[in-house]
């Protein structure tokens, strides 16, 4: 009898902390919501340098100006390529609507043709201009999707000394999985500032596809801001580093910078 009680007690002890832990962990959806609730400022101007490195070590560097502004709840993002000469003048514009059921509108200005092309936002799993991030990754800006995945919070882990919630996501259906190009994702979201610090993704066949590491997160004009993103594609062995500098949330960005004409006229 006593032995049974002791085993029962041990079992309760073993169960109890787990239950407590589960109860203390936020759901994946609420983590996703928190990443969206984080203050991004009304607008931001920043210099974005992309370093593309292939498996043989060949490096290509692209410098851009990235502008983002909220028009009520609609977010507009414009990226103007400054260097190298080969892509100079290329510009990208996206209108990200608050209604998740409405596809984004996207335009790409190609200076060699002097024409602006509409890009389908349905191809959100396509890679963004030769980098290892997809159009969807660029749109989310290190937040995690609220609509595309069924989440499960796995626990808490430290990344670079910061406590993070570990959230695993599986696409809600095959269509979404096909669009995004991921069969599973795993996110490490900072428990204090609600920003992504690390992400792993797996392709449709279940192979480990990419690892994203976000670092150098610090406050700029009172807003938590990332400065460095490293993306490793395990399949192609290609890497992209995104470096953000000259970040300014207070610079006045006129509305007409977020138009098709602005893509043509340049920054």
């Amino acid at each position: 009898m006593n032995t049974k009680l002791i085993f029962g007690f041990i079992a309760m002890l073993l169960l109890f902390p787990v239950t407590t832990k589960s109860q203390n962990l936020p759901s994946g959806n609420s983590v996703a919501e928190k990443t969206f609730a984080k203050d991004d400022g009304i607008s931001v101007s920043r210099k974005l340098t992309m370093e593309l490195k292939d498996k043989r070590g060949k490096v290509r560097i692209r410098e851009t100006i990235s502008l983002r502004k909220y028009f009520n709840k609609e977010k507009r993002l414009a990226i103007f390529y400054l260097t190298p000469t080969s892509v100079k003048g290329t510009a990208f514009l996206t209108f990200d609507y608050p209604d998740a059921s409405k596809d984004d509108d996207q335009w790409l200005y190609m200076p060699a043709l002097r024409k602006t092309r509409r890009i389908s936002a349905a191809n959100r799993g396509d890679y963004f201009l030769g980098t290892d991030l997809t159009y969807e990754d660029i749109r989310l800006e290190t937040r995690i999707s609220r609509e595309d995945y069924n989440y499960k919070t796995l626990g808490k882990e430290n990344i670079d000394g910061h406590s993070c919630y570990v959230v695993e996501g599986v696409p809600k259906n095959q269509k979404i999985a096909k669009e995004l190009g991921y069969s599973k994702v795993k996110y490490w979201v900072d428990a204090d500032v609600w920003m992504l610090r690390k992400a792993d993704s797996w392709d449709a066949a279940g192979n480990h596809l990419k690892t994203v590491k976000i670092s150098d997160i610090k406050k700029i004009q009172s807003i938590w801001t990332y400065h460095h993103i490293l993306v490793k594609n395990h399949k192609t062995k290609h890497e992209t580093i995104f470096r953000f500098t000259d970040i300014d949330y207070q610079k006045t960005l006129s509305d007409d910078l977020f138009t098709e004409e602005a893509l043509v006229n340049g920054f």
């Binding site: 593309l52 292939d54 060949k58 490096v59 290509r60 560097i61 692209r62 400054l82 260097t83 190298p84 000469t85 080969s86 100079k88 596809d103 509108d105 200076p111 060699a112 043709l113 002097r114 024409k115 092309r117 509409r118 890009i119 389908s120 936002a121 349905a122 191809n123 396509d126 890679y127 201009l129 030769g130 980098t131 290892d132 192609t236 290609h238 006129s254 007409d256 138009t259 098709e260 004409e261 006229n265």
Partner: protein, 445 residues
């Protein structure tokens, strides 16, 4: 030196130093320079000779005077080793004095490609004044509304439009009225297409009626508009984005960039019949629209133009001086399907002469089609592409397969071919003996 003097000197030095530092920083931030050097060599199969061997140097400078004013200058030095595409020193009779190239011998020329100031005025108005390219339209490969800047046809339509388009001295003003973008253009530069001489590889003989054999021909000087204001071109474009549709409405009052070849039979002095050709640029008007919308993975785009009073060389005995006029309806519908790094783009162009006339060397209803297939690999390092343009009326066309590869950030290699086919009297088929293979390298910094 007294302490007071020393302090004054120190303050002045500090002030000057600070100012110098600010100026230096401002200039560094404001001034940008870049350079592209490109070399392209083409081998012509039929002649077994180099058809093209060019070296192009393109310096570009921009200076931000302030956050609202920017100056841009783009120059070009062009050398063609074999002097094949534009033989000798072109007279450039169709080019205004302000836009002429400076020729150094037969093989080299220097050109001010673009030189303009871009300014934002009164918060609402964007002004671009100077030598520039203004591009309208949605189509690739063939043009409908992209008629503001003329073109150099030294490589027919094979040259990149960026290089073949001739920038013009013009004024472009843009502003918004609610959600409608308004663009006004004024082009006082009387420069028109540069077509090639009879002995050049890409002389477009299909456009001209040959005089009857044995009858001498007098080719008079082309009458080119020359009045700065009254002969200038003007245009307006209204654009909006509504319910996922990009829509523009366009109007352009302009001189056609190709002259009309009025001709008649005359008996001069010897009383022998002679054909006298009097080329003259003529006014016309164009109204048009463009539209595009995304449906899933596919972008639907289109372009419609209606040209009033276009002049055509005629084969009708009732034509006046060998010319007849008609309005022309032009349309293009395109679908771009993008999946991953692959693009499939199809376009159908229709061109309908609305009046009952008998144009030379073309039907009154013509259809061209194009198919573009491209695929990028290795994170956009390698691109394989093929463009096929085909005229369904005459069965002529061309195919352009190509491969390009970025060796590093600044260097691109290019390998391609241009293959024409069809009846030698038709627009594309006339170049069926000009098929070529090309290799190029482009370096930029």
């Amino acid at each position: 030196m007294s302490l007071k003097k020393q302090l004054v000197v120190l303050l002045i030095s500090a002030f000057l130093g600070m100012n110098a530092q600010e100026k230096k920083k401002t200039f560094k931030d404001s001034f940008k320079a870049s350079l592209v050097v490109a070399s392209d060599v083409s081998y012509e199969f039929s002649s077994g000779k180099l058809q093209k061997s060019e070296l192009i140097i393109k310096p570009e400078f921009s200076y931000k005077v302030s956050s609202k004013i920017r100056l841009v200058l783009k120059g070009q030095a062009y050398n063609e080793f074999n002097d094949a595409l534009e033989r000798g020193t072109p007279k450039e009779e169709t080019v205004s004095d302000y836009s002429k190239r400076l020729f150094i011998g037969d093989r080299t020329n220097i050109e001010l490609r673009e030189f303009y100031v871009y300014a934002k005025l009164f918060k609402k108005i964007r002004l671009t004044a100077g030598k520039q390219q203004i591009v309208w339209g949605e189509t690739d490969g063939l043009k409908l509304l992209d008629v503001i800047n003329p073109q150099n046809f030294r490589e027919f339509i094979l040259d990149d439009f960026e290089d073949s388009r001739i920038p013009l001295w013009s004024l472009k003003t843009e502003f918004d009225i609610k959600n409608i973008g308004v663009q006004l253009v004024w082009i006082p530069d009387n420069t028109y297409h540069i077509t090639q001489d009879f002995d050049a590889p890409f002389f477009t003989k299909s456009l001209f009626q040959n005089p009857p054999e044995g009858i001498p021909t007098i080719f008079n000087e082309t009458i080119r508009p020359s009045h700065f204001v009254s002969d200038s071109d003007i245009g307006i474009r209204l654009s909006t984005f509504t319910k996922g549709w990009d829509i523009t409405l366009n109007y352009f009052y302009y001189y056609d960039d190709l002259p009309v070849f009025y001709n008649n039979l005359q008996f001069i002095e010897s009383e022998e019949p002679m054909v006298v050709i009097n080329p003259k640029f003529e006014r016309q008007q164009l109204v048009g629209t463009t539209f595009n919308k995304v449906f899933g993975s596919t972008t639907f785009r289109g372009e419609v133009a209606y040209v009033f009073n276009q002049k055509f060389s005629s084969i009708s005995p009732n034509s006046v001086q060998g010319i007849e006029s008609s309005n022309v309806y032009k349309s293009a519908i395109g679908l771009d399907y993008i999946k991953g790094e692959s693009v499939i783009s199809i376009q159908i162009f229709n061109d309908i002469i609305t009046d009952n006339i008998s144009p030379f060397n073309r039907d009154t209803f013509e259809t061209n089609t194009s198919l573009l297939v491209s695929h990028e690999m290795m994170n956009d390092n390698l691109k394989i592409e093929s463009l096929w343009v085909h005229n369904t009326n005459h069965g002529d066309g061309f195919v352009r397969p190509s491969v390009s590869y970025w060796v590093n950030t600044n260097t691109q290699l290019f390998f391609g071919s241009d293959l024409f086919y069809g009846n030698a009297t038709k627009l594309f088929g006339q170049f069926n003996h000009r098929n070529r293979i090309s290799f190029g390298v482009k370096w930029g910094i």
